[in-house]
Amino acid sequence: MATVEELKLRVRELENELIKCKQKRCPEDAGGSQNYRQRIVKMSAEVVDSNPYSRLMALKRMGIVEDYERIRTFSVAVVGVGGVGSVTAEMLTRCGIGKLILFDYDKVELANMNRLFFQPHQAGLSKVEAAEHTLRSINPDVSFETHNYNITTMDNFTHFMDRISHGGLEEGKPVDLILSCVDNFEARMAINTACNELGQIWMESGVSENAVSGHIQLIIPGETACFACAPPLVVAANIDEKTLKREGVCAASLPTTMGVVAGLLVQNVLKYLLGFGSVSHYLGYNAMQDFFPTMSMKANPQCDDHYCRKQQEEYQRKQAERPKQEVVEEEEEQVVHEDNEWGIELVSEVTEEELKAASGPKPDLPEGITVAYTIPKKENTPDGEMVEETEQSLEDLMAQMKRM
């Protein structure tokens, strides 16, 4: 028997569905008394109160962006529609992006209300469903596609790969960019795996569990470091780990930090897609000191992901084919600190040898950025007993385990 709560939720779901149908049929009277505008076929630069794109098109007149209308030709996939992803999707919607594909398996909860975008009356709805509804009402010119599932499981991952390689504005073409706005390592690694296999450019974003630092990172498979090339990079928060209290909580979050990171991410997306300014390879945000470290890191030839290594070979081959002067420019720089107006110098990490052997080498990183952990060099001699070979088949072993 359904409870009152369940029935209320069902009503909300159906209401949402109804609004969506109405919007698709005749956008002008969807949602009853609410004002929904009609679709705009061509972006206009005319400065009138009724033109939602006038301030964006002004970027052209001011010489910032050469061809702003191109924004409508791009398809962007946002994976994770939480504190960062929902705001990211809203910004792109308001900018008039061509198509948005949203992936998330979660539902809106009241515990999300310390973050932006979602509203209390949406509690219980799937995040992608609720987001699509809001975003469509903000800008009906954007095409939306939503997937309410966890991308890290086998079946969903196959579908996810299919959608990013065929979900372009023109069906069948790949998406132009994937944005990772997820909150866990497993999902980032899944996106990384898919993008390395497909050679798909993506941007990663993240906010630390203590909510006071974050980062964005551009990953061009084969060229810049992929997510598996090094242990996860983190922005040093300059908080003594010993004083960080973790009792009784998993993660903290702030609308501010998440909003800042979403802003940095979408700014980088616009610069990348529309070709203005310089696109950051890695940009960190340390909220405690208001410090924004930047760097860029090349792909690791010893990366554990073999598709990453394959993409690197491909990239090297393409580089070799290019005219010679360009090759000279490609000097071996592990870490480039392009902007250093504060005169920040690298402090060499001279740790004790034993400590190093136990923890593994630390990559050379600019101040303010570190790795979540280090991994020692792989040893051939395992420090324990390995599983013994047996004649038993998998079925036998499954049965044996079941009998225990």
């Binding site: 390592f185 998998l394 072993l397 225990m404």
Partner: protein
Amino acid sequence: MADEATRKAVSEIPLLKTNSGPRDKELWVQRLREEYLALIKYVENNKSADNDWFRLESNKEGTRWFGKCWYIHDLLKYEFDMEFDIPVTYPATAPEVAIPELDGKTAKMYRGGKICLTDHFKPLWARNVPKFGLAHLMALGLGPWLAVEIPDLIAKGLIQHKEQQNSS
């Protein structure tokens, strides 16, 4: 990182050889065999140490796992259903173990009842790819989590012993 008993138990779990995930066809079968061998050995070790505390089984493909885990507190046995999927990136990333019936009862959980592991677990797992398998996940992830959370949940009255619950 872990107490002496856990360390000892972990050192007695055989290490895995095959670095392969659920997307690799034949190699995954090989990995699965190793997973089962290690799990069987670990359960046998637990039984002989009088510390039997979980059972696990999987679907045919070995991509979805489910089972039971239990914890003895004040001579009473508290038993829970657990489940998890093998992520496509396994063994580079560990599965997220869930105890759905405890969802919402402790802050040390993510949505869906996925247990929140300590900061030590991820680096430890990453340093031991592909040698660590599901048996290690049980010993270093779920085991310590139950040992901390269950007594706390009992003390707060958030979980009750099932028989006591039925009789009352």
